[in-house]
Amino acid sequence: MKVHEYQAKQFFANYGVPVDHCILCRSAAEAVEAYKKLGVDTVVVKAQVHTGGRGKAGGVKLAHNADEVEKYANQILGMTIKGFVVDRILVTEAAHIASEYYVSILVDRKIKQPIIMMSREGGMEIEQVAKVSPEKIVRVPIDPIVGLPDYLARDAAYNLFDDIKLVRQCAAVLQKLYKLFVEKDASLVEINPLVLTKEGTLLAVDAKMTFDNNSLFRHPDVLELNEPTPEEKVEQDAKSKGFSYVNLGGDIGCMVNGAGLAMATMDMIKLYGGSPANFLDIGGSSNPQKIVEAMKLLTSDKHVKVVLINIFGGITRCDDVAKGLIEAFQEIKTDMPIVIRLTGTNETEGREILKGTHFHVAHTMSEAGKMAVELSK
């Protein structure tokens, strides 16, 4: 789950990570007010959207007086950045930058531990740095049972600074950031850039946080900040019914049990020249109500012309699934062509039950794929 910069900065502030003075605004008038309140000459007006590349899109502007603040606020509010409409801006005090650094914490899947990623090349896209000069990125693994005691934090901080005063300041930032990362179950905390000001202090001028979806049950304060896009809204609604759903834009709707098999099904449709409408994993059991719900979800997508149901009856027996399908389709009543492929335990009995129905019954996955593609033409 993503949050906005201003929300991430609030988490930072709560954990004592130094952030710049900033005020969230929803109109140009509010922005001018904020400028006066901050009481500094120069401010930055920043679009608040759930995507990167705001600067390139013209969503970040330096303003030197109230007129400029108003002008930029008007420009940025309502602007569309990578499909996101800007409805909020952040007015922040412009820092006196001496140098810029990069710091983030995330879990490294390979070593199965959190790592601190650090670079003296701050302010640039880290993916770019990784591509062009990977040697400039340092990765410091953290043993999750040990955490980040002073000596390890200092050790890490030496990667960015040579002066002990700054090393100590940076070590404290790293410790607070790690505490935040762990306590809020973040999947990423990132400061880019971490600024060393001309006054000699460290400041998070930007802040990015994403959260582990699996942990949201224990973080109501994070969940409150959830702002799904219309697409994510559909996915989250599906999730609450026990489904995993992703729209793919094609015309063959897929209903599969198991995420791996669901991906293989959409890949196969494409392989046979068709176009999958979605990824849909309906999970382990295949009771009639679940199938009804899944069909509602599929048919709510107006592009769907054919539905392919691919069920591997492992623990759930195919004859039970077949009975469930018949029961479900008595309730659904659709004239859309339905291809069903049932395999696994009691598959012969299952297919026997489906004989004589309006379903197109396939034996193998390939056969089902070919049938569905044919029907979609």
Partner: protein
């Protein structure tokens, strides 16, 4: 022989009084797995399908000599369950539970490693050595004893592949679902090594998917250390970037973790990659004949 589990494996079921725990405990027992006990705090002294229930894993291990545990407890409590098993001296911990916070898996995994034990999962279907033992939730009837090792990040897709292999007359030594989460225990390289060293395994099928770079590393590992024939399948070729495809770990992030990269890595390592599941037995037979 087989890897990780065999007929001497003694299993306890953590969360045995729950719906899934009791159901699968009975299924495993029916298959011939030695299910020697279960745990459920506060329900010690009861029994489920003739299997004794204990309050703690420590008690269960002391009373039964269990060396393996399978976990069905709900996600918020799974970290604790994994750590309890490791602390009680269980050497192989199989966590079926889905939806565990990543940092919980990270901490539990590190603790298990410290205790010298192995973790499989979380968010996995477990493993099976056909005719010897099954520790998981797999439909046992599709498996056939044989000499091909199966390593997979998925559940039902593994069954699909196994069914294809079995009907083509290719049996399995051990089949393992390593789990669909970003952080799980034993992974491709560990399993490749085990299968390479197992005298009863003569070939390997590896089923990867989008997200992370484990397949790329596996390809590298195969090139250097695996002499047995390997065939691969990569799931999620049509997955859009930035979307989580059911498994928490199946996500393409900023251009990394795509199917194309993984397929290229395997091909570069001389590992044939099937474009659909039914191609796997064909490619495997070809590869075996080349040898």
């Amino acid at each position: 022989m087989s890897v990780l589990i065999n007929k001497d494996t003694r299993v306890i079921v953590q969360g045995i009084t729950g719906r899934d725990g009791s159901f699968h405990a009975a299924k495993m027992k029916e298959y011939g797995t030695q299910v020697v006990g279960g745990t459920s705090p506060g329900k010690g002294g009861q029994n489920v399908d003739g299997i004794p229930v204990f309050n703690t894993v420590k008690e269960a291990v002391e009373a039964t000599g269990a060396n393996t545990s399978i976990i069905f407890v709900p996600a918020p409590f799974a970290k604790d369950a994994m750590m309890e098993a490791a602390d009680a001296g269980v050497k192989l911990i199989v966590c079926i539970t889905e939806g565990i916070p990543v940092m919980d898996a990270v901490v539990a995994h590190q603790f298990i490693r410290m205790k010298g034990a192995n973790l499989i999962g979380p968010n996995c279907p477990g493993l099976i050595s056909p005719d010897l033992s099954m520790v998981g939730i797999m439909p046992t009837n599709i498996f056939k004893k044989g000499h091909t090792g199966i390593i997979s990040r998925s559940g039902t897709l593994t069954y699909e592949v196994v069914q294809n292999l079995t009907s083509a007359g290719i049996g399995q030594s051990t089949a393992i679902g390593v789990g669909g989460d970003p952080v799980v225990g034993l992974y491709f390289e560990d399993m490749l090594q085990l299968f390479q060293d197992d005298p009863d395994t003569d070939s390997i099928v590896i089923i990867g998917e989008i997200g992370g770079d484990a397949e790329e590393r596996a390809a590298e590992f195969i090139k250097e250390k695996v002499s047995k024939p390997v065939v691969a399948f990569i799931d999620g070729r049509e997955a859009p970037p930035g979307k989580q495809m059911g498994h928490a770990g199946a996500i393409i992030t900023t251009g990394a973790g795509t199917a194309a990269e993984k397929i290229a890595a395997f091909k570069a390592a001389g590992v044939p990659v099937a474009m659909e599941t039914c191609e796997i037995p064909v490619l495997l037979k070809e590869k075996m004949n080349q040898k």
